[in-house]
């Protein structure tokens, strides 16, 4: 029986190693499964799809949320409104990243590592960028190619009866 693990090491696709506390790692369902499975003894976890730049951000998120959870437990269970709001503010600042690069990769990393909070946060951020924009503006923001034929475009706008333009 191995002694209880305090930290794990994750290795980015660039080969850089980072230490994570167990509490932070548990934010990821993937890592949590590995940690709670006694048959696996963890030394280093390679996360092949995630670059150093993104991994640093992801670890930062996990640590912050793990700390918040621990503090909440210590206070007897319920996070006060102001603490919850503070965390929301932190999350909002955390997600102020460029769309073309970081946002996409954080979204994919959160999906891959199954970090629900970060995944929903990233999806909400993307959704907020879409809200209130025309299709043309959406394409510009996300660098999407308009691959509809003119007939298809006509049909799409008629389908929604020009009511949601």
């Amino acid at each position: 029986m191995s002694s209880p693990v305090e930290q794990i090491t994750v290795v980015s696709s660039d080969g850089d190693e980072f230490k994570m506390t167990v509490a932070a790692a548990m934010q990821s369902e993937q890592l949590k499964q590995m940690l709670t499975d006694d048959s696996i003894s963890i030394v280093k976890v390679p996360v092949e799809n995630i670059s150093t730049e993104i991994l640093v951000k992801v670890i930062e998120y996990c640590q912050k949320h793990a700390d918040h959870e621990a503090a909440t437990k210590a206070n007897g269970g319920g996070a006060s409104d102001s603490e919850a709001e503070e965390l929301n503010k932190w999350d909002a600042e955390f997600m102020k990243v460029d769309v073309e690069d970081k946002l996409f990769h954080i979204l994919m990393a959160a999906n891959y590592l199954e970090i629900k909070g970060l995944f929903d946060l990233a999806c909400q951020t993307v959704a907020d960028l879409i809200k209130g924009k025309t299709p043309k503006q959406i394409r510009k923001i996300f660098n999407l190619k308009n691959d509809f034929t003119p007939e298809e475009q006509e049909r799409l706008s008629r389908q929604h009866n020009c009511s949601f333009d």
């Binding site: 073309e100 996409f104 979204l107 994919m108 999906n111 995944f119 929903d120 999806c123 909400q124 993307v126 959704a127 907020d128 879409i130 809200k131 209130g132 924009k133 025309t134 299709p135 959406i138 394409r139 996300f142 660098n143 999407l144 190619k145 308009n146 691959d147 509809f148 475009q153 799409l156 706008s157 929604h160 009866n161 020009c162 009511s163 949601f164 333009d165």
Partner: protein
């Protein structure tokens, strides 16, 4: 990059979007279009706890000159015109059911009900009742609230039934129930004739359900409220505060409690709530300036004012262009409500809109198809 997002990720993003934003997102590129059609992100969106879940006000013109209706988006505070050309017959709205509308066919002597989704443009007739009747009261019980396409039951009570054997038409004393899961009607009980009389013609309004009781208010002075206890199959009549003086009166459900919104001549519009022991208590008043704006004139005459309400919002309106006074829950979790003025719909994309009389409904829009159709 973004165009090649895995569909499950994209569907999760779409679940955060309101229907109008989703409609635009699905027009951005083919992949996004395909994802929106194949992935059921609408189920996810029902669990998103924020302002996406303020109901929209839907104004349905009473005299359908042009087959369309008008929807107000409370988040962006703008109006949309929705075509109703997909409806095969002229209809009148009866009640919202989650994301659907319960309708009755206009030119039918006996009651014929149908359901539709004005956003996805789907329509279906409901089966015929066991006993044909004209102008009965119609009540709706939604079984699993908060879901976009909930199961529901419809109660039809009273009305006039056709004459049998050469006699005159009589008041129909039976109550029938439609179960959406079984897709059929069943006779569930009967009522004293005096209730059958009250329920015929004089209760065309939306019912309000509080726990096991369905309530209707009569349509004109002197207002009174009729309650039907579904569990015990019993009927009762309740009084209405200032019943003889109210110029308009509507029942609403607010925070799970029965509410009454009404206005007196020369006075304010008020909101009462029914407390323990079936006593009405004054809860709030429409702020003077907002009431004034709605009436748009010098007289404090509430005649012609209408109201709709559900757990998250109460809206007072008159016609399509009059504007609305809205009292809405600030956030889902909080218990704070705030008053707002909503500009009426007088112009859509630069074209003037005819200022017509409307019937309002509060609905949660959804673009999803459902197997109920």
């Amino acid at each position: 990059m973004w165009s090649n997002l895995p569909f499950d990720v994209l569907a999760n993003i779409f679940s955060f979007l309101s229907p109008d934003s989703l409609a635009r997102a699905r027009s951005a590129c083919k992949n996004w279009n395909l994802c929106s059609k194949t992935c059921y992100s609408f189920n996810l969106s029902a669990s998103r706890p924020h302002s996406n879940h303020q109901p929209w006000f839907l104004g349905l013109p009473i005299r359908n000159q042009k087959p369309c209706c008008y929807a107000h988006n409370p988040v962006l505070n703008n109006w949309y015109e929705l075509s109703l050309e997909f409806l095969p017959v002229p209809v009148r709205a009866v009640s919202p059911i989650g994301s659907l509308l319960l309708l009755k066919v206009s030119h039918s002597t006996t009651l014929q009900l149908a359901i539709c989704n004005p956003f996805s443009r789907q329509f279906r007739y409901l089966p015929q009742l066991n006993i044909s009747r004209t102008n009965p009261a119609v009540g709706v019980v939604v079984l699993n609230q908060g879901v976009q396409f909930p199961s529901f039951r419809i109660y039809v009570a009273g009305g006039m039934s056709e004459a049998t054997q050469g006699g005159g038409a009589t008041y129909e004393r039976t109550t029938e129930m439609y179960d959406s899961q079984l897709d059929e009607w069943r006779i569930v009980g009967s009522m004293p004739v005096e209730f059958a009389v009250r329920l015929t013609v004089w209760t065309p309004n939306e019912s309000v359900r509080i726990e096991n009781v369905l309530y209707w208010i009569t349509s004109a002075r002197v207002y009174s409220v009729i309650g039907f206890d579904i569990a015990t199959n019993t009927w009762e009549e309740l009084s209405v505060p200032m019943a003889e003086m109210l110029e308009f009166a509507t029942l609403v459900r607010r925070n799970g409690v029965l509410g009454l919104v009404g206005g007196t001549s020369g006075g304010d519009a008020c909101i009462w709530e029914m407390k323990e022991g079936k006593i009405w208590g004054l809860k709030n008043k429409v702020p003077g300036e907002l009431g004034w704006k709605l009436l748009g004139g010098n007289k404090r005459n509430w005649d012609g004012t209408k109201c709709v309400g559900n757990d998250g919002a109460i809206c007072l309106y008159r016609d399509l262009g009059s504007g609305m006074v809205a009292w809405r829950k600030v956030r889902d979790e909080s218990s704070e409500w705030e008053w707002n003025w909503v500009e009426g719909c007088d112009c859509i994309k630069g074209k003037k809109v005819h200022r017509c009389s409307i019937r309002g409904m509060l609905i949660h829009p959804s673009l999803a198809s459902t197997c109920i159709f």
